[in-house]
Symmetry: C2
Subunit: 607 residues, 2 copies
């Protein structure tokens, strides 16, 4: 059975030593006033979260996979054994309220600390974590754009976890393309709307863990324009609450079936049928897409966290197995047994270090983004808020796609360390692979993330956000170009950053060349995001290596933590970062090799 120990030491290193989170949060009145900025407090919260997740959530992971969720004929759904009890404890301990607004019963903790707990939950039991996770998404949307009435009625229950939330976007014919959804809303004339249609792939869409489920539903109000500009956001509760918050009548939304999936079996992925269900408008009419986008950054980072968390736990278990499994003899021998631990063999070390390098950089990116989100929302200086917001917008698609791609690949490589045993369910490694696979697909496929990055965040913006990040990188490079330890990394990084700039220029120029310009962006996007991801990870590894070398030079590396950082940084720059060389070439090749003859190559005939 797999095990898990939360990497709290590394989390604290990134928060405090790399990001200086304590000081930064103290500068934000919201956290200062709530007494939630103190790093010692955050540190204690992380330790307590680790204890809870390791003992209450992680042991349910294989059970959840094996049992899955079961729907009865009335559309009720039973979650796997232990899921509800763990959720009750989670609620009771106040974890659902962790970073929520104190006005609605929240603890007002920074996103920086909740994202750390988020990582732990994703490592421990991602299917379980999606129940409170989706709830948090619904909380964010409602908090951002809901009316005071709706907020007062719903948010306290979502914050205390007695009610959960969902996000209902996808329909059978409309996934990426939300502009063509058909679910309709009719004005009842009493301030409510009748919602009718079918939504699919609704995570945590129906279950027995909470008293009520609050669905946030995209639908088209009668008479609205076609496309994304005619979509509104509605709140549709499973049970319609009375004014005092007690539960009233059952609403016309029913779980029609549950999907049979490759993984995340413990989470109920529901088909929801809305049959004139009573709904309330959230935000403005026809602004549904914009409202969803408000919380998209958080949801996408949340998906990235699944890649990070699953990569981490897969790595941890591969590491343990590699120390334990004796196979073949290494020269010179490292054990007195008939064979040596496989961790002694360089190729096994390569697989392990791949996991370590990607997860530690991913953690740094996630915490950096979380602190930026805190800054965006709560910094007293508007310019700082704007700057942080820009960085969040730019880096979020990278966090989502790069972290889930790397997480999946790390899970696969960690499974490989186990040899044949990795393919056997009892060891749990194959579950990590199956569970990690969905992160690359949902919440906008990684292809869509790439288009968001290159098309929207870089090109439509005239490269302004990119230039700001480039400025930060260049500043760092100038400060450290001659550094005896990290000079070489900075050098590589500088070249890659320059290349990123010139690649962006080339694609940008092509993009403006008429109809085929869009094709050029589409053709380059995935490789572009991966290139960009390496530049970001390279920057973070260089920064972490610098801090670690300083500690070592000062004689402050008591347990080898900093030595490990410097050596993992070296591995990253010599064994993973060179992927940029291939990516530069494939991006440069552009759309032309993809513009093949449709009939000859694909047997596809069209007008």
């Amino acid at each position: 059975m797999p095990s898990y120990k939360a990497p709290t030491r590394d989390m604290k290193f990134v928060m405090q030593e790399v990001l200086g989170a304590g000081d930064q949060l103290a500068a934000m009145p919201f956290y200062k006033d709530n007494d939630t900025a103190d790093f010692d407090l955050l540190s204690q919260v992380i330790d307590e979260a680790a204890r809870f997740v390791e003992t209450e959530i992680q042991p349910l992971n294989q059970i959840g996979d094996k049992e899955g969720c079961v729907r009865d004929e009335q559309g009720n759904v039973k979650t796997p054994t232990g899921f509800k009890a763990a959720y009750d404890k989670f609620r009771a301990a106040g974890w659902t309220a962790l970073d929520a607004d104190p006005e609605y019963g929240g603890q007002g903790m920074p996103h920086t600390v909740s994202i750390a707990m988020n990582e732990m939950i994703c490592s421990a039991n991602v299917a379980w974590g999606m129940y409170p996770g989706l709830s948090h998404g619904a909380y964010s949307a409602l908090h951002a754009v809901g009316s005071d009435e709706l907020k007062k009625l719903y948010l306290p229950h979502i914050v205390d976890g007695s009610w959960t939330g969902t996000m209902c976007l996808t329909e059978p014919h409309a996934g990426t393309d939300l502009g063509i959804i058909r679910t309709k809303a009719q004005d009842n004339g009493d301030g409510t709307y009748a919602i009718t249609g079918t939504k699919i792939f609704i995570s945590a869409g129906e279950h027995d863990m909470a008293e009520n489920i609050v669905h946030l539903v995209l639908a088209r109000l009668e008479g609205s324009p076609a496309g994304t500009k005619g979509i509104s956001l509605f709140l549709v509760p499973k049970f319609i609450p009375n004014a005092d918050g007690s539960l009233g009548e059952r609403n016309g939304v029913v779980c029609g079936s549950l999907e049979h999936k490759m993984g995340i079996h413990g989470n109920a992925t529901a088909v929801l049928n809305f049959d004139g269900a009573r709904g309330w408008l959230v935000g403005e009419v026809n602004k549904g897409m914009n409202h969803m986008f408000i919380m998209m950054n958080a949801a996408r980072l949340g998906t990235g966290m699944q890649g990070l968390g699953l990569g981490e736990v897969a790595y941890q278990n591969a590491l343990a197995y590699a120390k334990d499994r004796l196979q073949m003899r290494k020269e010179p021998r490292v054990s007195g047994e008939e064979a040596d631990p496989i961790i002694a063999h360089p190729d096994v070390r390569r697989m392990l270090l791949t996991g370590k390098a990607y997860t530690e950089a991913g953690r740094a990116l996630a915490l950096w983004l979380a602190l930026s989100i805190d800054t965006e929302h709560h910094h007293p200086d508007e310019a700082k808020r704007k700057e942080a917001g820009d960085m969040v917008a730019l880096l979020t698609p990278i966090a989502k796609a790069f972290m889930t791609d790397n997480g999946f690949n790390v899970a696969v490589q960690s499974q490989q360390v186990f040899g044949g045993h990795g393919y056997i369910q009892e060891w749990g490694m194959e579950q990590f692979v199956r569970d990690a696979r969905i992160g690359q697909i949902y919440e906008g496929t990684n292809g869509i993330q790439s288009l968001d990055l290159l098309g929207r965040k870089v090109l439509m913006d005239g490269g302004k956000k990119l230039q700001k990040l480039a400025g930060t990188l260049q500043e760092f490079a100038e400060e450290n170009e001659g550094d005896e330890h990290i000079g070489d990394y900075v050098n590589q990084l500088g070249k890659a950053a320059q290349q990123l700039g010139s690649i962006t220029m080339v694609v940008g120029q092509k993009a403006m060349s008429g109809a085929e310009g869009a094709d050029e962006v589409n053709a380059a996007a995935v490789d572009y995001l991966r290139f960009f991801g390496h530049v970001v990870y390279g920057y973070l590894w260089a920064r972490m290596a610098k801090i670690a070398h300083d500690k070592i030079d000062a004689g402050a590396d008591k347990d080898g933590f900093y030595l490990a950082k410097t050596q993992t940084a070296k591995f990253y720059f010599t064994k993973l970062f060179p992927e940029t060389k291939a990516l530069a070439a494939t991006i440069k090749a552009g759309n032309e090799p993809l513009a093949v003859d449709d009939k000859a190559v694909f047997g596809w005939e069209h007008a």
Copy 2:
């Protein structure tokens, strides 16, 4: 539900137009005399095989995954619904005898044609295909080194499919490291041996599809030396046959349990307990490892075929979905619907072309190898036999590892084309991913294949086989370097081949530098194999492109088949081949970044 149409046109293109198989086989008396060299005949066999596989085998694939195999308390195993009936038809139609020796009831067909059928079976239902597949492996070993007595008694039954075979190598503590197996053999003094021990991961180890199961078992004869030099190969039948071939008493080998696996659920992966089971020596005492290696090439190519077959079927289904699924609007529009087929979007084309380029090159490699195996066994000229055998030895680890890695990646990318639907079991794409994953692990992990290639096939051989291949490449390059169509590919290929040579030199020199030399080989091996794989695929794509361009120039491309070849070649060289740039850098980085501090980085303390 997924569909499958065997790519017979492409198979024939490779066989006849690329490899000239008809003429080459006609030069081998064995096939000439058996009347099995004629290309028209082979072509008919391929068409008939396609019909059989598409209609009888493929429809059972999802059933097999869903039902799996069930073991009762006596150790009997029931295969999924329909598996036995399809196997009976398969036998009745003579497919188990296809490339077997006519002396034992075989049809004496070339390996070149059986490998084509093999690909089809792997596409259609890899779990089902492993029953006859393992049987074929046992046939090969017994045919190569068994005594006449054993061969006469067993082979006719294996050839007609009434009995199947297995290969029993792995034990709980010994996978890669067969030198430490503990299963023991005691001489009964009557020409038989008592075999005792536990074997795990035995594919097709117990089932209800055949009357008898013939286990080929690695065991240590009492008094034999330690390590691989003390291992012998034994034949242990489930039922001990009487002299006339009728079934006698039940032997002491029982299926103790079945593994629960990530995929290939339809195949019974058995734990087999041998409790003084009666066995017969196959080949010579203490030569068991050598005997196994005789058939290892075929078994490893067979595993590579799983990667190829699964990549192909995943690609086919992604292609069909991409034409059908309407999502987002392309400029200019290509359909009158509210959205356009996703195949119009360049990033989707990129994923599809990745599948097409890898599978078509893999097919060319597989058929080239199969024809080389035929040549190795049956060419009248000893020098030709030796040359072909060298090429088979060199390319087999590439066929196994590169084809299964690419097959898995293609399955994953094809699943990605489906968006959220790819994660849902009913669509069948996630099964392809789960089924493809094992190919990278068993029959020697891909890490082990890489060591076999770099350590054994290249360096221990002093680079002789590599030089022979390099000579072939150079000859091709010199002939075509100025070619208007493929000159650029040849140029890229030439550079990469040169680089492969220099990389080999560098690693070879490091390898000789004492104990750490082995680490350098181990550190480089996986990236080296991938680099080598691209050189081989590049060579094959350039050859195929040349033939296709010649046809086009001659006005002989009636249906666009050759145009598709040229455009896929271009995609390969511009979008996939550049991976070599990254690999060259990571190989060059050597073992140093992996030689990290064990305690600091891995928390591993040792002597």
